[in-house]
């Protein structure tokens, strides 16, 4: 199923298919947020934002507004 990272549920794993390279910061790419890599939603912050992700083995948190620019395939 095609969707974006902000739609993932806790514990769900997906493969990154496409990234909106104009909006995403280079830093995120450098941390491994690239097409073909896996992403898993580990935790959502108590108030619904930000999201705590495991991207390609790297653990990081991003806001939902950023996460919606990352397309994935579940």
């Amino acid at each position: 199923m095609h969707t974006t990272v902000d739609q993932l549920k806790k514990g769900e794993k997906a493969i990154i298919t496409e990234i909106d390279s104009d909006t995403l910061p280079l830093k995120l790419l450098e941390m491994g947020c690239l097409p073909g890599n896996t992403v898993e939603l580990l935790q959502i912050a108590p108030l619904g934002d930000p999201m705590y992700l495991d991207i390609n083995g790297a653990r990081l948190a991003i806001r939902k507004e950023t996460a919606k620019h990352i397309s994935v395939e579940i």
């Binding site: 280079l26 450098e30 491994g32 690239l34 097409p35 935790q43 934002d49 790297a58 990081l60 948190a61």
Partner: protein, 700 residues
């Protein structure tokens, strides 16, 4: 055997234990300074290597890649691109974390492209078994064109191997490990033809980065081979993808992870520490414990220091020949310095706790927990770090805002951080609380004075949040907003790292503040000991006549005290105090407090020292601790000067006023204009005055 001296640069991502490696190599042989013109911390250490080689070890700021996005990262690039820099490394050690090898190797491949000898240090090797990781070191060394040291700073393993590899730097390969220029062959061929003598990757960095390079002019390259920004960004992304492809390729064979063998304690801990209820409960409990313990644990050493300085003052006064110099030392310098030394225990405890929070990886979880809340007030989750570390000192806290990506969020954080209760306020708070709040326990375990202290921290923090909220509405700054924060693995803080950190920071605080206090104490002493005109010179006679006229019988002691205080009132300092009295009287202060408040605008911690100096000059008993002197100080009508209304008024004034010249200087540096520090100073002073005024008038 040569006596060679080499430069070694430690480079690595944040959170890979780079500082632990630095500490393991250098021990306490460290110097911390600043890079010229900017406020990035520069850490150099010295280390003796085998074969009589001495090394200067440079601990560079942590960076994820050579695509700089902050001042700290610029430092790394500027050094690595400037062969003429006297710190240019003979060999670079790229420090990585075995659990994050994939991501850490990105920076490694970039450093390799600069064609300097590189050693790859894979840290936290003791975690390999626990995480089910095994590495094929010979294969990795071959593919990455380097030598690898598997180390564990925690278990003190592999440091000697690392030293041996550093020594043999001349035999290390300087070949890049992949051909990054394949992302746009034609473009890079063109570059190579135009600048045959320059390193290709260096040219690429100059083109894509906004940093200051000596040697190559950016304009020169741009006119030769111009590309629009959007295309450059696309190429940078292609470059990153290319590097990751290579790394994935290498690790597919070189690294095996047996997921079934891996134990994941961190995830379970995360579930609790970022839980929607427990997460906040734990966070606030930690803060609560910290503030309670700062107050109660440091009590004993503080008492000891206090009486020690009283004794010293007295000893100087009795054993040195009497004269101006003795007076200056006994009444000016010793009480002034004592006023700061006494707070070393509290400040050290504070730095200790903050250092543990940061080292353990917990701080990132707090950032995660707080982001949504902070965003509502125009701040970022990352603002929590400056706001918490601001409890130690606003200066490093303001520097720590650099990793906030959005300029508006960052500016607001910079502007409100000085509201958080820094350690320089502790001296003032401690002494005044002890004078106005009884030392009692409620509910069996809550120390009332500790509670008051905590209330002041809450007041400072609330004011910061409130100010942020207003600034967020008022400031009209648009900017791209994004937020990326790494969640490092939980680690038990290394004793050595924490200890070195606490010692360094406390030392810097005491020396920095000590200089200002020493200077101010001396000036104050002179101003308090000399006065203009007839009243001051004939003090002895005037006081004696006055007492006689009122028919008061007096002994020698009373006369001396009366003369001293009369002299003080008519000294230069006393006269200045009289001038400012109308302004501060509505706040409940006498002229002596007024002088102390005024001198605190250089640095808050001067307050206690200033009062100590003023009271010493006006008093014959030098050995009385400053607290005693303040407790017995009375108004004209005989009531206690430091009573509840005046005390609370002072506490609120210090909570909100911008009384720190160094912070203003750093704000100017970080915002690159005098506008922001000027606004900050004015607004904070007005708030402080109004708060103190209201409190005094209501409580009176």
């Amino acid at each position: 055997m040569s006596n060679e001296n080499i430069n070694v640069a430690l480079i690595g991502n944040p959170n890979v234990g780079k500082t632990s490696v630095f500490n393991a190599l250098t021990g306490l042989n460290q110097q911390v300074g600043n890079y010229p013109g900017i406020t990035v911390e520069k850490k150099i250490g010295f280390c003796k290597l085998p074969h009589n080689i001495k090394a200067n070890i440079l601990d560079l700021p942590g960076t994820y890649s050579l695509n700089a996005s902050s001042m700290d990262e610029n430092v790394v690039i500027e050094l690595l691109l400037n062969k003429n820099d006297k710190l240019f490394p003979d060999v670079a050690v790229v420090v990585t974390d075995v659990e994050n090898l994939k991501r850490n190797l990105l920076l490694f491949t970039q450093i390799k492209d600069l064609e300097i000898p590189v050693v790859l240090a894979i840290n936290m090797a003791d975690r390999m078994e626990y995480k089910g990781i095994s590495l094929d070191i010979p294969y990795l060394e071959e593919r990455l064109n380097t030598k690898i040291a598997l180390i564990s700073t925690r278990k003190k393993q592999g440091i000697d191997e690392l030293k041996n590899l550093i020594v043999s730097y001349k035999t290390l390969s300087t070949e890049p490990c992949l051909n990054a220029s394949a992302i746009d062959q034609a473009y890079f061929d063109g570059l190579r033809k135009t600048f045959p003598n320059e390193l290709l990757y260096k040219l690429w960095l100059v083109i894509t980065q906004d940093v200051n390079f000596r040697g190559i002019e950016k304009k020169e390259i741009l006119s030769a081979l111009r590309k629009p920004d959007s295309e450059l960004k696309r190429l940078q992304q292609k470059e990153t993808i290319k590097r990751y492809q290579f790394i994935n390729d290498v690790l597919r064979i070189g690294q095996t992870i047996d997921a079934s063998a891996a134990k994941d304690f961190g995830s379970r801990l995360d579930r609790v520490l970022t839980h929607k209820v427990w997460g906040y409960v734990i966070f606030f409990s930690i803060l609560f414990v910290i503030f309670q313990s700062i107050f109660s644990w440091s009590e004993y050493p503080m008492d000891l220091i206090d009486s020690g300085f009283g004794w010293l003052s007295n000893a100087v006064a009795t054993h040195m020949p009497s004269g101006i110099l003795t007076d200056l030392i006994a009444q000016g310098i010793i009480p002034g310095i004592g006023g700061i030394v006494i707070f070393i225990p509290q400040i050290a405890f504070l730095f200790l706790f903050i250092s543990i929070l940061e080292e353990s990886g917990y701080m990132s979880r707090v950032v995660f927990l707080m982001d949504k809340i902070m965003k509502r007030f125009g701040l970022s989750g990352k603002s929590v770090v400056p706001l918490i570390s601001g409890t130690a000192c606003a200066i490093p806290a303001i520097m720590a805002t650099r990793n906030i990506e959005n300029w508006k969020e960052r500016l607001i954080t910079i502007l409100v951080t000085p509201f958080t209760t820094c350690s320089a306020r502790l001296p003032v708070y401690t002494i005044i609380i002890s004078l106005i709040i009884p030392d009692k326990r409620v509910l069996g375990f809550l120390n009332l004075q500790g509670l008051m202290l905590m209330a002041l921290y809450v007041a400072g923090f609330s004011m910061a949040i409130l100010a942020a909220y207003v600034l967020n509405k008022v400031l009209n700054i648009k900017g791209k907003s994004y937020f990326v924060v790494e969640m490092p693995n939980y680690k038990l803080p290394l004793f050595k790292n924490v200890a070195i950190n606490v010692v360094e920071k406390t030392k810097a605080f005491v020396v920095g503040a000590g200089k200002i206090i020493l200077a101010i104490s001396i000036v104050l002493w002179f101003l308090a000991s000399y006065g203009p005109g007839h009243d001051f010179e004939n003090a002895d006679k005037i006081v004696a006549d006055n007492l006689k006229a009122r028919n008061i019988t007096y002994d020698e002691q009373t006369l001396t005290n009366e003369i001293n205080s009369y002299k003080l009132e008519n000294s230069y300092l006393g006269l200045t105090g009289k001038i400012i009295e109308p302004v501060i009287k509505p706040l409940g202060y006498d002229w002596k407090i007024g002088i102390a408040v005024l001198s605190s605008f250089a640095a808050r911690e001067v307050f206690v020292g200033t009062l100590a100096t003023i009271y010493s000059v006006g008093d014959t008993d030098e050995q009385d601790p400053i607290r005693e002197k303040m407790a017995t100080e009375t108004r004209a009508d005989g009531s206690r000067l430091f009573d509840l209304p005046t005390g609370v008024s002072l506490l609120l004034f210090y909570a909100f006023a911008m009384q720190c010249a160094s912070t203003l200087a750093i704000v100017k540096k970080e915002t690159n204009s005098w506008k922001w520090p000027a606004i900050q100073f004015t607004v904070m002073s007005v708030i402080a005055y109004l708060a103190a005024f209201t409190a005094y008038q209501l409580l009176q």
